[in-house]
């Protein structure tokens, strides 16, 4: 189902200020149409992203979380995205343990010049989340523990 056809889902994006936030700006300047589900939180560097933020978002009601930073070796702070890559890769493998479908979380690298790439990243990820449907909400649903177990199994 195309993302635009259904009702909106809740997707949180953590973007580094230098590359990906710039890339999202470039996509805007280029008027590259995107699904509206994603809301962006700006952080200085992908290395600033504590995996806890992602988990909190997913446990707190987000249907998907997208992290995007500078391409490896192209970090404004020289090494931040390397730290991010390690942490986020571990997090991705750890998510099932928390009862969260790891497909609800992605991390990518988009540079400030890659407006078109940002458009396709957002569109693809939004479609992926729509395919999964709304997340079984940990906070709002009384069934949360069982849900967690089911997805973990």
């Amino acid at each position: 189902m195309p993302a635009s056809a259904g009702s909106e889902l809740r997707i949180v994006g953590f973007l580094c200020n230098w590359c990906s936030y710039g890339g999202a700006d470039t996509a805007g300047v280029g008027r590259f149409t995107q699904p509206t589900d994603l809301r962006i939180i700006r952080v200085p560097c992908s290395g600033r992203i504590d995996p806890l933020f992602v988990v909190k978002a997913l446990m707190g009601g987000a249907d998907g979380v997208l992290v995007s930073g500078c391409h490896p070796r192209d970090c404004h702070y020289s090494q931040g995205n390397f730290y991010a890559r390690r942490r986020l890769e571990v997090l991705k493998r750890f998510l099932p343990t928390l009862g969260i479908d790891p497909k609800r979380f992605e991390y990518t690298w988009v540079s400030a010049s890659e407006g078109q790439r940002w458009q396709s990243v957002v569109t693809k990820f939004t479609e992926q989340i729509h395919a999964l449907g709304p997340a079984p909400n940990q906070c709002r649903s009384a069934q949360a523990p069982q849900e967690a177990e089911r997805s973990a199994g």
């Binding site: 635009s4 909106e8 809740r10 949180v12 200020n17 230098w18 590359c19 936030y21 710039g22 999202a24 700006d25 996509a27 805007g28 300047v29 008027r31 590259f32 149409t33 995107q34 699904p35 509206t36 809301r39 962006i40 939180i41 700006r42 952080v43 200085p44 560097c45 290395g47 600033r48 992203i49 504590d50 806890l52 933020f53 909190k56 978002a57 707190g60 009601g61 987000a62 500078c70 070796r73 192209d74 970090c75 404004h76 702070y77 020289s78 090494q79 931040g80 730290y83 942490r87 540079s111 400030a112 010049s113 890659e114 458009q119 906070c139």
Partner: protein, 659 residues
């Protein structure tokens, strides 16, 4: 806390697809929002005055502006806040233009999304604290990387302004591509006559240190305090002693070395000075061709050198330089013409590049200024120029226009007629792009006065026939196929980013585009700045440029550095990390991860603790995400602030209903 929210229409840029009045209305319901309004242009003078007035009228403690990207106007509004008497960090911006109104047309969805973004900005602002900048000393020296015309201009301007300049050039002489040109368009000035004196100025200026035949190895530090390591490649000649007399070149028995300065038209000696106008005018040995290196015996140059400058055992040397700013002026490379197999470049000796042709036209070039076919040294009478070789061709990944090829082709056609009056030049072109001052007039002169035949269309194939070449192409104006018989074919090669640009960009921590050209901070308003403070761009490393633009940008970059250094101290961004000494367990993880060495270990009442050196911290927050105790927090981006944003997004906004 009292918060004011301003939702900008940005004309119809935002208001066209976002109901800004409704966003402001929704904002009024948000916690601690005391005032909310929509405004036509928040960044305009009346818009900013409105913010100042509202702060005073309603006693606001903080402001949210929902408008464009903070990368554009965050600083503008921070200054507005200061004018209103608030701390500049009590400000948040919601990006409802680039991230909302420009990427979707659904008014309802956009309005909802804009409201959400205002919501997270309000939640963050509620946790913002006033911050004050610290001052730090700066090193008023500057490094220019690349000694082409842009780098030379920048170096001279800054040296004249009283700054110490370190100029690093990869090849053995400065001058770049311009030094290889015979004449320049549209004035037909002699290139080396206008560049030569500037090159000499560089070598003689007391404020300029020139490292030729050197490359930047690593860059660390930050604006005002960069540490750059420069690798001075082994030249096997002591440049302190070498006088540039050229005796070694006369006597060197190995005459097969690649002549890079002459674009491989002809060869040079294994020990060589790149050109008679080289700066520095010093010899270097090409060990690949030197008999002392390849065969282990020769030593002719060492015997003949009157100043005893030959040092066969010389090694690369790495020197450290402390500078406060860096200008990248690394220029461009020419497209590899052999990639067009159908043109036969590289296979047919008489299909050459424009820069090789330029060397042939030059009196100091390998043919002494005589146009000769490389195959048989005969004077060509029919010369075909093929434009857009490596420009405006998506299929080879070069969709951009290189900008100067139309002009240099017109110039070369004109010069050809001067050199060989009974010759005929043909130019295959797609469009003629001659937008500069006197440029279009110049190409017309080529056609009208010098009889250059312009044929509009691409060349499909070049093949030899007898001792001539047949250039087959389309004439799209006549709508027919044409074939032109040529003695010599000159391919007008386009520009591409210079080799190693991505690597240098990584060292400088600046961005580059899909083609490897360095990215400016803003394509319109910050053409010489980068997003890394203290690093500037000049010339074709940012995109193909002709000489006047390169010189202009070189001067612009120099002016930026001069204005940066006009202050004795810089203010550091106070968005730095802070250690909560009570929580810190002294594990040292933050010290190990900090890319800038901005965290030091201290002894606090007998306990090991971490401490941030505020003027060194760049505010990336890697330490904050690393600390197992949450003891080190990046100001303005604390865990609590980001989690508050997450909460605002996940829990509240879905309930906002506009139907």
């Amino acid at each position: 806390m009292k918060i004011g929210v301003f939702v900008c229409h940005c004309g119809s840029n935002i208001a066209g697809t976002v109901d800004t009045a409704k966003v402001a209305e929704a904002a009024r319901q948000m916690p601690e929002v005391a005032f909310a309004t929509d405004t036509m242009y928040a960044c305009s003078e009346p818009g900013q005055a409105g913010v100042v007035q509202a702060v005073k009228e309603h006693g606001l403690d903080g402001v949210v502006v929902a408008s464009c990207t903070p990368r554009m106007h965050e600083l503008t509004f921070r200054r507005t806040l200061e004018r209103a008497g608030l701390n500049r960090y009590m400000f948040e911006m919601a990006n409802i233009r680039e991230h909302v109104s420009w990427i979707g047309k659904d008014m309802q969805a956009n309005t909802r999304k804009a409201t959400d973004l205002v919501g997270i900005a309000v939640e963050k602002l509620r946790r913002d604290k006033p911050l004050t900048a610290k001052k730090f000393d700066i090193c008023k020296r500057v490094m220019v990387i690349g000694g082409g015309v842009a780098g030379i201009q920048a170096a001279l301007d800054m040296a004249e302004g009283g700054l110490e300049v370190v100029l690093v050039e990869r090849s053995a002489t400065i001058g770049g591509k311009m030094a290889k040109l015979d004449k320049t368009f549209p004035t037909v000035d002699c290139s080396s006559c206008i560049l030569g004196p500037k090159m000499v100025d560089v070598s003689q200026h007391p404020n300029i240190t020139l490292y030729a035949y050197s490359e930047v190895e690593s860059v660390s530090g930050f604006v005002g305090n960069f540490d750059v390591k420069v690798r001075r490649k082994a030249r096997y000649v002591n440049w302190e002693a070498c006088t540039g007399c050229g005796l070694c070149m006369e006597k060197c028995p190995s005459k097969k070395a690649k002549d890079d300065f002459n674009e491989q038209i002809g060869t040079t000696t294994a020990i060589n000075i790149p050109s008679p106008q080289a700066i520095p005018k010093k010899a270097k040995i090409d060990p690949e061709f030197c008999r002392q290196f390849t065969k282990g015996k020769c030593g002719v140059c060492a015997k003949i050198c009157p100043s005893g400058a030959i040092e066969y055992d010389q090694q690369d040397e790495v020197v450290g330089e402390k500078v406060g700013a860096i200008i990248a002026a690394t220029g461009f490379d020419l497209f590899d013409y052999t990639r067009y197999g159908e043109y036969g470049g590289g296979r047919y000796p008489d299909v050459i590049t424009s820069i090789q042709y330029e060397r042939m036209l030059s009196a100091s070039g390998p043919t002494g200024g005589h146009i000769k076919r490389p195959s048989d040294s005969k004077e060509p009478k029919s010369i075909v120029f093929v434009q857009c070789v490596g420009s405006r061709d998506k299929s080879i990944g070069r969709p951009y226009c290189s900008g100067f090829c139309c002009m240099y082709t017109a110039k070369q056609a004109i010069l050809t007629k001067d050199h060989i009056p009974d010759s005929q030049s043909y130019v295959f072109y797609m469009d003629i792009r001659a937008p500069g001052k006197n440029y279009d007039e110049f190409t017309r002169r080529g056609m009208e006065e010098y009889g250059t035949q312009y044929i509009r269309g691409r060349v499909s194939m070049i093949y030899p026939q007898g001792d001539k070449y047949i250039v087959r192409g389309a004439d799209t104006l006549l709508g027919t196929q044409v074939e032109v018989e040529a003695d010599l074919v000159v391919l007008a090669v386009g520009a591409e980013s210079s080799k190693g640009s991505p690597e240098l960009a990584e060292k400088l921590r600046i961005s580059y585009d899909a083609y490897g050209f360095f990215m400016e901070s803003h394509p319109k308003l910050k053409p010489v700045e980068t997003n890394t403070a203290g690093v500037y761009l000049a010339g074709s490393c940012q995109g193909p440029k002709d000489i006047p633009s390169s010189v202009g940008q070189g001067s612009a970059a120099a002016a930026k550095v001069l204005s940066l250094f006009s202050r004795s101290q810089l203010e550091s961004d106070p968005q730095v990390s802070m250690v909560d000494i009570k929580r810190c367990i002294g594990c040292g993880k933050c010290i190990a991860t900090c890319p800038f060495g901005a965290i030091e270990a201290i002894d606090f009442r007998g306990q090991p603790k971490a401490q941030v050196i505020e003027t060194v911290c760049q505010g990336c927050g890697i330490c904050t995400a690393t600390c197992p105790q949450g003891a080190i927090q990046l100001q303005h981006f604390t865990d609590n602030q980001i989690l508050a944003e997450v909460n605002a997004l996940c829990q509240q906004a879905l309930e906002v209903n506009f139907e």
